[in-house]
Amino acid sequence: MRVTLFIPCFIDSLYPKVAMSIVQILERLGHEVDYPEGQTCCGQPPFNSGYWDEAREVAARQLEIFRDAEVVVSASGSCGAMFKKFYLELFHGRPEEEAARQLSAKTYEFSEFLVNKLGVRDVGARFEGKVTFHDGCHGLRELGTKQAPRELLRAVKGLELVEMGEAESCCGFGGMFAVKYPQISTAMAEVKCNSIVETGVDYVVSNDSSCLMQIQGYLSRHSPRVVKSLHLAEVLAQQ
């Protein structure tokens, strides 16, 4: 299969290893990976702030860029939700509506792609460590992602998966929310991170790097012991 990657801007600049890991895994599974280099941003920041005209301008480009893709895999739950759900709202009643519909139909979040489209749970990974999984809200509630990442993690040799009490609680990132309402955002991170530390794990894993940015940011500053954060793809790429 020819898999076209959609790599959000912050993964591109801050966490490129996540995207590299995805490439590695998909090629290991025998698929051809494509990456349209003209891609920039899905438009979520202005969209969430209510600037939908501006978001549309940015989003319209993405419709063009991914027009010829067979299947699109997103490295992030929240940006994936833009392609899968929110573009339909943004372009409702407009000439781009059909293109948005088609893009939505062929877009997958990374873990959903592996488990539900390819039917793969074991990607041949090995990772020694005690791990807990954080459910990113967009993935969980907009895309319905819950079991897929866990099934993938359970198949990793040497990995022990522990559930935390606050697995489904929002980490507090929420895009601009994190800097517009930093006191609330930090309080939410505190609740999340206390729950993580309580499990005794060494690693917190998620399918959304923006969540991990928030969680790692808080852990590095406040955690009584070292807990590292990793994207699901980074774990699955290890052999």
């Binding site: 790599i7 801007c9 591109d12 600049s13 801050l14 966490y15 490129p16 290893k17 995207a19 590299m20 490439v23 990456y35 280099e37 003209g38 891609q39 920039t40 941003c41 438009g43 920041p45 202005p46 969209f47 969430n48 702030s49 209510g50 600037y51 939908w52 501006e54 301008e57 940015v58 480009r61 809200c137 509630r141 489904e168 609680s169 929002c170 507090g172 990132f173 929420g174 895009g175 929310f177 994190a178 800097v179 517009k180 309402y181 930093p182 006191q183 609330i184 955002s185 930090t186 309080a187 939410m188 991170a189 609740v191 940015m213 928030q214 790692q216 940011g217 808080y218 590095s220 500053r221």
Partner: protein, 471 residues
């Protein structure tokens, strides 16, 4: 309490304070953790909670989207049995009606059961100014009244208080003995209220549902205070929002269990009572007069917004508050308005002005837990997003406009975007010098969290290189 000019400023100030109050946050988290457990058990007993939600949403959709027809039907049935209906366009009209009524009937003392609508129209203040003695009978409301504070949560008015605080309050205001027993504290309130039920000339209640088919108002409670408020005084006034309609009496056999499950995790609340008019000939007791004040107060404005009309399906169960991480961390008072939490953040801009109250819709990470918890499937978190869009469409904020101007021009030019990404590690060399200070462009992040380092090579460049190497 410092009072600032703009609601938005006040909100930020209050959120600063309440998010720093760790013991208070822990108490709220604990209370709501118990709610989650109880609710989970009760939901699972349903043959299908998800189907029940669809059924409830369908009925509310029918009711709200034919509101004129059903309100007329209610009025017809209710007045046929001696009830009086007053249609209030706004809070002033509602207050005036009730004050006039109290004056004309020579009312001296008033007992109230829980009515968020009375908070909304500031009824207690108006009644007290006119010289009436008003006492709240719901335990949580009674406590908040003694404290001169509004309710913290519209189902659990004093969930933020510990028992020692309540005891100290009772000792001060009621002269009771110190105790750390919730049971004893409840008995103190019970004893105090007893005489008020008996002596009150007027009982004022809210209402959970308006039943069109049979002309009844349905009231749900655990304590029995609403039953007493509406059984003993000569006059009963129910103040209820026009949107609380259900078409048929039998619809309550779905709504009552769902309200209980979502609201408190109970299978059914202790008392669910339907009032179809004043006492009828042949009945042993009951009020001689029953007035229902139907309150519009901007609900028709929300009704006219078809995209968000389902926000009027709300049955005020409070579930969205219970699961909201913002509510749990900032508390109910920080919202600064009658209806807190996610649903409050959706409707307050419609009821009190979009530009003044849009910040409540902004203070959310849009996690969607509220929409998931809502028993009538209101699309809550998407409405918050729509409020943001509507606020911008009405009036853009100049510096935000500037940012998105720059943003979209950057993002439409891949070469510019890639350049910016390449420059990021360079820019970060200077970051340590201003890190966490006023000059730090990401200070609101770095004040409390570490900021990630830009990777030396972006994914774009790695891919490019790899492509080149493979040729």
């Amino acid at each position: 309490m410092i009072h600032l000019q703009e609601p938005q400023e006040q909100f930020q100030h209050d959120a600063d304070r309440t998010t720093a109050d760790e013991p208070r946050r822990a108490a709220v988290r604990k209370a709501l953790g118990n709610y989650q457990i109880a609710r989970g058990k009760t939901e699972n007993a349903f043959a299908s909670w998800q189907h029940a939600r669809d059924a409830a949403a369908t009925i509310k959709y029918e009711g709200v989207n034919h509101l004129d027809r059903y309100l007329r039907e209610f009025e017809e049935k209710f007045t046929a049995r001696g009830g009086k209906v007053f249609w209030a366009s706004n809070s002033a009209q509602a207050r005036e009606y009730i004050l006039n009524l109290a004056r004309e009937r020579g009312v001296k003392s008033i007992v109230k059961s829980k009515a968020m609508t009375s908070e909304e129209i500031h009824l207690n203040d108006a009644l007290e100014k006119d010289g009436y003695h008003v006492i709240e009978s719901d335990l949580g409301e009674f406590i908040q009244q003694l404290k001169h504070e509004p309710p913290y949560h519209f189902v659990f008015p004093c969930m933020h208080l510990k028992r020692d605080e309540i005891s100290a309050l009772f000792e001060r205001e009621l002269g009771s003995a110190k105790t750390d027993s919730p049971e004893e504290l409840t008995m103190i309130a019970r004893r105090v209220l007893r005489q008020h039920y008996i002596n009150a000339d007027m009982g004022i209640s809210g209402g959970n549902f308006i039943v069109a088919e049979t002309g009844m108002i349905s009231i749900t409670e655990n304590e029995g205070n609403a039953r007493l408020t509406t059984a003993l005084p000569k006059i009963h006034v129910a103040l209820i929002g026009i949107e609380k309609i259900v078409p048929r009496l039998a619809d309550l056999s779905l709504f009552l269990p769902m309200l209980a499950t979502a609201g408190t995790g109970q299978q059914l609340t202790c008392y669910n009572s339907m009032y179809g008019g004043p006492r009828l000939a042949g009945e042993i007791d009951g009020p001689e007069e029953f007035h229902v004040v139907l309150l519009d107060n901007h609900r028709t404005r929300l009704l006219a917004d078809a995209e968000q009309r389902d926000a009027l399906h709300c049955i005020r169960c409070g579930a969205c508050l219970n699961v909201c991480p913002i509510f749990k961390n900032i508390g109910g008072h920080a919202y600064g308005t009658t209806y807190q939490g996610p649903i409050g953040s959706v409707i307050t801009p419609h009821y009190r002005g979009l530009q003044d109250w849009k910040h409540l819709s902004g203070a959310s990470s849009l996690c969607g837990a509220c929409t998931e918890a809502c028993p009538v499937k209101i699309d809550i978190h998407h409405h918050l997003l729509q409020n943001r869009r509507n606020a911008v469409a009405e009036k853009k904020v100049w510096w935000e406009e500037l940012i998105w101007f720059g943003f979209r021009h950057l993002m439409k030019r891949p070469w510019a975007y890639k350049l910016a990404v390449r420059l990021a590690p360079v820019g970060q060399l200077f970051h340590p010098f201003v890190y966490g200070t006023e000059l730090d462009p990401v200070q609101s992040w770095t004040k409390t969290r570490d900021f990630p380092e830009a990777a030396p090579q972006s994914f774009h460049d790695w891919w490019r290189e790899r492509k080149g190497a493979r040729k």
